[in-house]
Amino acid sequence: MKLSIINGHLIDPANQVDAKQNLYLDNGRIMAIGQQPEGFIADQTIDASNLIVCPGLIELSAHLSESGQHHTASIASETKAAIKGGITSLCIPPDHDPIIDTPATVDLIEDQAAKAGHAHVYTIGALTQGLQGELLSEMLALKQAGCLGVSNGLNPIQNTLVLRRAMEYAATLDLTLFINAADPWLQSQGCIHEGMVSSRLGLGGIPEATETIAIARDISLIEQTGVSAHFHSISSGKTIGMIKDAQDRGLPITADVSPHHLHLSEHDIGNYDSLSHVMPPLRSTRDREQLQQAVRDGVITAISSHHRPLDNDAKLGPFAETKPGISGLESLLSLTLKLVEDEELSLQQAIANLTQHPAQILGIDAGHLSIGAQADICLINPHSESECQPEHFISTGKNSPFNGWHFNHDVAYTILNGNISYQKG
């Protein structure tokens, strides 16, 4: 299959390209940029005159089927949703069903993903057996099976001795540790940010210190053990300074944020809107501004949907009894580029945060459009004037608080391995 994409506005932050360029793909790889190679006869040509051409998006953490749930969501349905969202690679955290703590589970997931064939699927292995926070998992075996890193998912490790040793062991194997930072005790009584909205609605609050305490503890141990670490889904403005300080001291620490924390705040919960029930919780408008600033400043270098597809029943009930989570794969791109429209981010920076940077965090050869690179590409229509309609999501999870939002940027084509795998109808 030979594909040419002509006249597009090519944005490839990894190679510092931001210009009108043609792309020529052959055999699943990028063959040439700019001039058409001699003798290249395209089987198909996409005229990208009004489109942005960038690397396929890379999602750092997508829950595809959760343990203990009747999962209607599957790897097939969710990777197809990813492709519609311009995402060509995604990473599954270990709190999957089954928990990713043995090589057999990694093989099973890779098998299912290969059969579905919609997107590249990577895994993060469990840091401790069964994510129980007590015994180390067989990290070497998980690494050899293909896990890109280790994590204890949404189950924070309480025992600091276990955490320290797990970090040392991961560092020995050169595995990156992915952390959802939360103090389990402070988190246990709440379901939304502790502040004026929790006080008004009479809902249990999760104080800011839930995140700052966990991050302070983790940074101390990262410094001592030398492990590379990535913090998922930062929610509080206060933690940004702590992360920046650690980065300035040379510690190998990166962080991501979700589009919902960049766009929403505690006030969006309104009158108990369970669609805005997420973990970590939406915090104050000040936190939201500080998170946007941290992305501009490069303290936070990746934007990740933290996709969590839930069936309708999971969101039906009194707020505290509903499950937290947002189905985010299909709105990741539009929501991130909405920040460009709002002049919060530059287009180059936004795209780097969705492509080049997450690839670097995961340590995979993706997220760039170099000659010879795998041809995973996203074509964006910057004048789409579409509306977010969760009921039309391909994902089995229709749980999105962005229903009815207007988007100017939308995915026009997704190219996976040099083939058009999605085209906007």
């Binding site: 009584q189 502790e194 502040g195 004026m196 929790s198 006080s199 008004r200 609605l201 009479g202 809902l203 609050g205 104080p207 309104g270 009158n271 108990y272 029943d313 039906l316 009930g317 009194p318 707020f319 505290a320 009894e321």
Partner: protein, 324 residues
């Protein structure tokens, strides 16, 4: 945000929270309650306002007193009343809250009076009932207890004429109190001059001042020159969650005694939503003393609930007439 409690022409349809309701409406509730309270003194205590209507008391959490006054109120309005205590029986069978609701609605209920342990449960139910059904919140988690707040306002109005001149102190576990949240909103809406909350930091909500109150941790300072003292019930499970060391120490700091009462204005009234823990949040001598209006509150509960029920169901029949 709370306009869904009202019909298009501003009539009460549901009564879920005080938040968002206008002063006129709160005054109308109290004025109606005033009319109904005279009925209670009559030989025949019934009026036929809600004849043929079916009201279901849906209590997912136990309460004898609140349920009884709602039941009496409905009966005095000539409605048919069903009491359902759904502690865990339905949910333990795996039936969801919505399933329970839809089943009961299929019995042609006109109104649900709902008490539930989760904040927001009444709002949730109101969002999912059929359009002709009214929902009255009889207490949802730590969120709201609007009829209790209105009977408290009614009681205050009976003793104190002009709300803007008043200084009101609410003492105790504000954090977990749906009563306090609704009282604060009602007092604000009625233009009360100063609302104070008094309690230890463990029992006050985060950013309390955003609720429109002055925060005191010291009882003596907080009670200075107030016209109304509302003491809240202290749940004993608060000692389990490391919120307080002991009931004894709480009483020492925040229990309302005769000595502390002297700090308030001489004609201050003492209120309590009940049931009382004597010697924990209030001394018996104060609870039974001349400044206490605690039993009056209970009596007023019936008239206020009659007012709210008749207004909510009355607005429906008007609607049906206009649409017919």
């Amino acid at each position: 945000m709370t306009h869904h409690q009202l019909t298009e022409n501003g009539q009460l349809k549901h009564f879920l929270t005080i938040e968002g309701l206008k002063r006129d409406l709160l005054t109308e509730i109290m004025d109606r309650a005033e009319q109904f309270s005279s009925i209670s003194g009559r030989q025949v205590k019934k009026v036929p306002l809600l004849r043929g209507k079916t009201i279901m008391n849906l209590f997912f959490e136990n309460s004898t007193r609140t349920r009884t006054t709602f039941e009496l109120a409905a009966k005095r309005l000539s409605a048919d009343v069903m009491n359902l205590n759904i502690n865990t029986s339905a949910t333990s069978k795996g039936e969801s809250l919505l399933d329970t609701l839809h089943n009961l609605q299929a019995m042609h209920t006109d109104m649900f009076v709902v008490r539930h342990s989760q904040s927001g449960a009444a709002e949730f139910i109101a969002q999912h009932v059929a359009p002709h059904v009214s929902v009255i919140n009889a207490g949802d988690g730590c969120h709201a207890h609007p009829t209790q707040a209105m009977l408290d306002m009614f009681t205050i109005r009976r003793h104190k004429q002009h709300f803007p001149d008043l200084r009101v102190a609410i003492v105790g576990d504000i954090l977990h109190s749906r009563v306090a949240r609704s009282q604060i909103q009602a007092l604000s809406t009625l233009g009360v001059g100063e609302i104070r909350v008094i309690g230890p930091k463990t029992l006050l909500p985060a950013d309390s001042q955003t609720l429109g109150v002055h925060v005191y941790h010291d009882m003596a300072a907080g009670l200075q020159d107030v016209d109304v003292i509302i003491t809240l019930r202290l749940q004993f499970e608060r000692m389990q969650g490391a919120l307080l060391p002991s009931a004894n120490e709480y009483f020492t700091s925040y229990g309302l005694t005769e000595d502390k009462l002297k700090l308030a204005k001489p004609d201050a009234i003492v209120m309590h939503p009940g049931p009382i823990n004597r010697g924990v949040e209030i001394a018996s001598t104060v609870a039974d003393g001349p400044q206490s209006v605690i039993l009056e509150q209970v009596t007023h509960g019936i008239a206020v609930r009659m007012a709210v029920m008749s207004m909510a169901l009355g607005s429906h029949s008007e609607q049906q007439e206009t649409s017919a």
